[in-house]
Amino acid sequence: MPKRMAQDEPLPLSPIMLHMLLALSDGEKHGYAIMKAVEDDTGGDIAIPLGSLYGAIKRLIGGGLIEESDERPDPDLDDERRRYYRITPTGEQTLSAEVQRLERTVAIARAKRVSGKAG
């Protein structure tokens, strides 16, 4: 049975949600910055399209994993229509649990001598 966190957000997280939480783990970001961070972190493997990005933001907020931030890094440097998001303590817990789950999966794969390289 998958472990369930607060707000009943089930593990495993979808790859998009996992990478979005990772993107927010080092500081609050607006939508485009999240999109860009995920793309950079995954070397372009995950490029979140517009609708999926905001659908995921809505679900992460609904699940209590992220929240809207009132603070702005520098209002002069940024468009005031942008909203910033930050990870919540529940989001950090969930992210940590997901990372542990992935570590266990990798450990199992290594124990079975499954290589990360195809072929």
């Binding site: 399209p49 905001y54 809505k58 229509r81």
Partner: protein
């Protein structure tokens, strides 16, 4: 920041504003301005680096994704929709039996308003998708298609049987009953996919199917109308059928209570 937006991006933003109407009102109001802003930044950057080709690729991906995510947002499970679906099924079931018995008009001549309510309830129950299912779009859309086919079968079956009952045409009534039953069983299977009340839906389909067999047997004996007006026909297929609908509604309502709200209020 006042960077100049290239003309092709401006045109895409204009079309994007139109596409935004695909989304539910709440979602649109909350995210519209921000989505446009995000697209503007992304498209401007891509246009600067990759030109028209990159911009067109981004546009194609964005349009497909917007259509899919807008549909997902409309079918997002929520307490509100589950409760409305539950109430529709309860109301439809009660109307079915209340208007059915005193007039003795037979199962297939139940009022269209009852059927409309039942269809709303069935749609609410079957179009709901779990997060795991939404993560597998192909499977999710296959489920939607099967559900739509099931709903159509129930609706067409009801109308066929209604017409058959009205004109006292036995074979039409039986065909309608059978089609309605098949539709309910198909929907029972898709409801099984999302783990919602499917045994009750299958029972409802089986009751409807049993009625089709019952009618067919009497048709074979050339006694169709007698079967529809018989006490057995009224009680078994009228009362038990309606109880199934009400039961489904209560279960759906209760599941709506249990469901964790994951969408923004």
């Amino acid at each position: 920041m006042n960077t100049r937006t290239p003309r092709p991006v401006v045109m895409q933003l204009w079309m994007l504003r139109v596409l935004m109407w695909l989304f539910p009102t709440g979602f649109r109001k909350t995210y519209r301005a921000e989505m446009l802003q995000t697209y503007r930044t992304r498209a401007t950057n891509i246009y600067a680096r990759q030109g028209y080709r990159g911009l067109l690729r981004l546009w194609a991906v964005t349009v497909i994704d917007l259509v899919v995510t807008a549909a997902q947002e409309h079918f997002e499970p929520s307490k509100r929709w589950q409760r409305i679906g539950g109430l529709a099924l309860i109301g439809g079931g009660l109307l079915w039996v209340v208007l059915h018995l005193p007039f003795g008009v037979g199962w297939f001549q139940s009022p269209p308003i009852a059927m409309a309510l039942l269809l709303i309830g069935l749609a609410s129950m079957n179009f709901e998708r779990t997060r795991e299912q939404r993560a597998a779009p192909l499977r999710m859309w296959a489920g939607f298609m099967v559900t739509a086919v099931g709903l159509m079968a129930v609706l067409v079956g009801y109308m066929t049987a209604w017409i058959g009952g009205w004109h006292q045409t036995g074979i039409t009534t039986v065909t309608g009953a059978a089609l309605q039953s098949v539709g309910l069983l198909v929907m029972g299977m898709t409801a099984h996919e999302n783990g919602k009340s499917w045994p009750m839906l299958l029972i409802t389909g089986l009751v409807s199917g049993a009625e089709a067999v019952w009618l067919a047997l009497f048709l074979w004996q050339d006694m169709l109308m007698a079967s529809m007006l018989s006490v057995v026909g009224l009680v078994v297929f009228g009362v038990i059928g309606a109880m199934c609908w009400v039961g489904l509604g209560v279960m759906l309502w209760r599941e709506g209570d249990e469901e964790v709200e994951i969408s923004m209020a």
